[in-house]
Amino acid sequence: MYNKKIRGPLVEGNKTLSQISKEILSPMETVPGLWWYITFGISSIAAIFGFYAIFITVSRGIGTWGVNNSVGWGWEIVNFVWWIGIGHAGTAFSIFLLILRQRWRTSINRAAEAMTVIAVMMAALFPALHMGRVWLAFYIFPYPNTRGPLWVNFNSPLFWDFIAITAYLLISFSFWYLGMLPDFATIRDRTKSKIKKAIFGFFGMGWTGSGRHWIRFESLSFILGGIAAVLVVSVHSIVSTDFAVGIEPGWHTTLFPPYFVVGAIFSGFAMVMTLMVIVRKIYKLTDYITDNHMDAIARILVFISLIMGTAYSTEVFIAWYSGNEYEMFTFFRNRITGDFTFQFWGMIFCNALIPQLFWFRKVRRSWIGLLAVSLLINLGMWFERFNIVVTSLSKDFLPSNWVSYNPTYIEIGVYLGTLGLFTAGILLFFRYIPIMAVSEVKSVINIGRKSDD
């Protein structure tokens, strides 16, 4: 039950319904400040650099990257897993909390889903480029072809990965768009501009808010939420099997699927927090995303951080307990000590230790604290993926295979490019799409406000 005394109202400031429409839609109706243009400019420059790097990669081949025979997966796979992880939380956030009927999700889910859609698009770029000949990427579709017909290998996690990501992207987008229908109708009915009316009338698909629409809308939300929850868990499990079916020391473990899923939700929630701190600061929407909302995300993060800490220690323990000398070497000589100590201890520090600050109410209530910790978590999650991908590959069973790996500027460029595209995408989202689900926020204004509940 919702305890008002402890948790306070979900929406503060005794808003009326029309006030909610007005305040949430105001970023779309006003010209953004200078910060928007500056950030958009910087992210566009990064994106252009990224396009240049992609052009070089495609025209000359992946020999322009630092990857080699031993370390065949470098920054691209690190970044792919990192982006997919971030892309996880949006849907995890809105769907798990929808199914658990956590009403505080209403003011955050739209932004989280937007983040998902953009992050998954960024992620999908990396495996496509990694194919080398990206123009032959369509070979991965199982269609009747003239090559036999030779089908793809349905037993391969790499193929599972492809369908899981494609399905995840399309489903996340559908879910996001479905939620926007009532808001588009609100914009259509409120605006005085004819162009806006036409555009949002088209994309609003003729939504009227009729009882028949609403009951089907809710029913469909629960269907999509219920089955997409399975997908959220399975996508990152599938990504983890890319590693777990390999026999490299440090990869070949049954811990990987839950470890990856939790890690993904961890990084995604951290990114949601980063975004929400910024949205609150810039658009002054603190009545909708209250301190209690941020507090709730911080509590989830500290809990997940404990799971991450447990997973890291389990991995190290099992390496020792198994008595397998290659596993021992990877964990004790190549991660805890050795060439990659910085990345390993960076991961432990950012993911397992720093989030423990959220036990303190003062940190949970300060925006600088929230922003700093959430950014560090995302850095830590990057280190985690680097640890998994590069340390295992660089020193495997045969010492004659041992090499070091450094990314070239082309690889760094692709990564910077995706960061730029992501930021630009988020900025466009702030500008052209309602930041929060207006109709959903309206449905929760009475929670925790009246004396009788």
């Binding site: 259509r188 009338g201 009227t208 997908l231």
Partner: protein, 177 residues
């Protein structure tokens, strides 16, 4: 043919619900209601039901059978290849593909069903009885064509009595909904 409608507009959920109840008590048929957010009591009062979950179940069933049949056909009948000494019909590793494609099919098919049943299609121009319903007003619409003047007046009185902030008469040439 022109159709006439009585449109009651309310500021809040409580008066809106009590008005629906009192209209139903007098056995007036409510044409439709429009709200800015889903009001669950309305679904019960108007006996609205959605059969989308049933449809979704059958989409899922169809997808599971279709995907497994496809995997069996490609891996066992059409072009069998031995991967790592495993049997052609390596069912456990087919499960992943089946789950993902099933989820995908259910999503797309349910969305299409939703779109067709609710008549929500890009660019469609459904009739808007009162444009404030998507912002902050709760709207009840009653078709008054067959009720005559006395029935019409009675509805207006009932709506006002229950706290309607406005009661409008509107005529529509052809209603798209």
């Amino acid at each position: 043919m022109k159709k006439t409608y009585k449109i009651g507009i309310y500021d809040d959920e409580e008066t809106f619900i009590s008005s629906i109840k009192s209209l139903q008590q007098k056995e007036f048929k409510i044409y439709d209601v429009f709200t800015p957010y889903p009001v669950h009591e309305v679904f019960h009062l108007l006996k609205l039901k959605s059969r989308l979950p049933t449809a979704a179940y059958f989409f899922g069933l169809f997808a599971i059978i279709a995907v497994l049949a496809f995997l069996y056909y490609t891996s066992v009948i059409n072009w069998p290849i031995v991967y790592g000494g495993k049997p052609f019909n390596s069912f456990p590793s087919f499960i992943v593909v089946t789950i993902v494609i099933t989820i995908f099919t259910v999503t797309i098919a349910s969305l299409a069903t939703f779109s067709a049943r609710s008549k929500l299609i890009p660019g469609r121009d459904n009739t808007i009885f009162d444009h404030r319903a998507t912002d902050d007003k709760f709207v009840i619409v009653v078709n008054t064509d067959t009720l005559g003047d006395s029935g019409s007046d009675q509805i207006e009185a009932l709506m006002k009595e229950q706290g309607a902030v406005e009661v409008l008469d509107k005529e529509f040439e052809n209603v798209i909904a």
